[in-house]
Amino acid sequence: MASFSTTATVDETRISLGDDGILPPTRTGGDDGDGSPGVPDYSTRLRRARLGLLVALTPVIMLFVSFSSAYVVRQGLPTLDPRSNQLVRDWIPVTLPKLLLINTGVLILSSLFMELARRQIKRQVAGAAPASVSEVSSGDQVRIPWLAITLLLGLVFLFGQWTAWRQLAANGFYVATTPSSSFVYLLTGTHAIHLMGGVLALFVAGMASLLRRSVATRSVVVDVTAWYWHFMAGLWIYILCLLEFAS
């Protein structure tokens, strides 16, 4: 027969993972520094969300690794031409529209603004008193809407990609024209779909503010979205280099 004895445990002061400042000490137990019983504290939520993002990015990386290896293999692949009984290589590189460089600039800029948004809300969390971190921010100072600007730039990027595809098509390069054009559309298209996911996340982050979610919740959402956004920017630069230089 079992008997239960509860042992309340109190954790030591924990330093948060935030980059700019030390959060107030947290403790485990029913009522934590957050103020709301039964909800994990801010640093735990942030850590868990970031871990989740890291894990989630792994299959995204694998997807693009897989596409990249298919790309490299296909480039060098000879195929049998039955008419001549010879192995021939048929890779014709695609000239990428210059517009892609401008789009790259837009995306890098958006990453910058995204980072500003992330730090802005971090400061809000750090600056707030422990008991009020779970409250809706009072919003008394004027804050530059970095988040909205990022979202806007993200949409500009996507529009720019769409225009670049139209330019490619105008030059006669459709998705099935050559193996190289197939990969251009494949890589840029898959990236764009993932970026649309990021745009959606930005929208959700923005909504979290309008819907008056707590500063802690919004900070976690913005933080994870920001890292995802930076990753998408880095991924884009990788894709561009792959298409331009590994040709």
């Binding site: 039955p82 008419r83 009984n85």
Partner: protein, 269 residues
């Protein structure tokens, strides 16, 4: 229950092993130069893996019977979290056994696959298509003529099925057949091609198998050491007719082969 388990496990083990040892259903009789080496290695693997199989199953049966809970007459349980020495020993032994077994096949594999066919080999181009095998000999000029996919007409058979291009002078003397004929004791180089999907050229009695992949011309070789007729099967799922993509290899004496080939070549003139 422990005893029942022992009996069931041991019976399953011994019955299965019996049929392997008795060779009730076994590899078809081999007729190629590679047979001796391959079959010998089969036997080696069988013996070694067979010993492991029987030992493990016998041990399992014995352990579950011997260490059954006998109530109060059971001996004390040997509380143990393991034995590192034992772990290291059986890990090393297993590695040596498994990797060693495979390394021992290096020369066989090299002879089959690394080394190309000799200069004196009979060259036959083997083409798979849904759902037939065609064989092409290069003719007196020793060259395979060009084929053109646009000229393919499978219903006409032979040259038309391959899409042989009459405009290429090298095609004129190419001999195309639905049966593969080769001389005994002479290396045969096969050049495997496919028109539509992946097929696989499998001659069980020659211990030969190789996928025929569209877009590739794969060079392989074998040497038949007995005359006779040997069945060719397709061994890669290729569509609804996969089960009936059936061919025939005829291995004949060198004289018969020369006569047969000369007659086919004469038809092309």
């Amino acid at each position: 229950m422990g005893l029942i388990l022992l009996v069931v496990i041991w019976l399953i083990t011994f019955i299965s092993t019996y049929f392997f040892i008795a060779k009730t259903w076994w590899l078809p009789v081999g007729a190629s130069a590679s047979t001796a080496g391959i079959d010998h290695h089969f036997t080696t693997t069988f013996i070694l893996m067979g010993i492991v199989f029987v030992a493990a199953q016998v041990a399992l049966g014995y352990l579950v019977w011997n260490y059954r809970d006998r109530g109060s007459s059971s001996s004390k349980v040997a509380y143990s979290h393991g034995n590192t020495t034992l772990e290291v020993v059986w890990t090393l032994l297993t590695t040596v056994l498994f990797v060693g077994l495979n390394l021992a096949t290096y020369n066989l594999w090299a002879a089959e696959r690394f080394d190309p066919a000799g200069a004196n080999a009979v060259r036959v181009e083997v083409t798979g298509m849904q759902f037939a095998w065609y064989f092409r000999y290069p003719g007196p000029d020793g060259k395979f003529g060009a084929t053109n996919p646009e000229l393919e007409d499978a219903s006409a058979g032979g040259e038309a099925a391959l899409g042989l291009d009459p405009k290429d002078p090298a095609s004129k003397d190419d001999v195309v057949t639905g049966t593969m004929v080769v001389p005994v004791n002479r290396e045969v180089e096969v050049i495997l091609r496919a028109h539509d999907v992946i097929h696989s050229f499998f001659i069980p009695q020659m211990r030969f198998k190789q996928d025929a992949v569209p877009g590739l011309a794969i060079h392989m070789h074998f040497t038949a050491i007995q005359t006779g007729e040997f069945e060719i099967l397709c061994a890669e799922l290729c569509g609804l007719g996969h089960y009936k993509m059936h061919g025939m290899l005829k291995v004949v004496s060198p004289d018969e082969y020369d006569k047969w080939l000369a007659a086919r070549e004469a038809e092309k003139q």
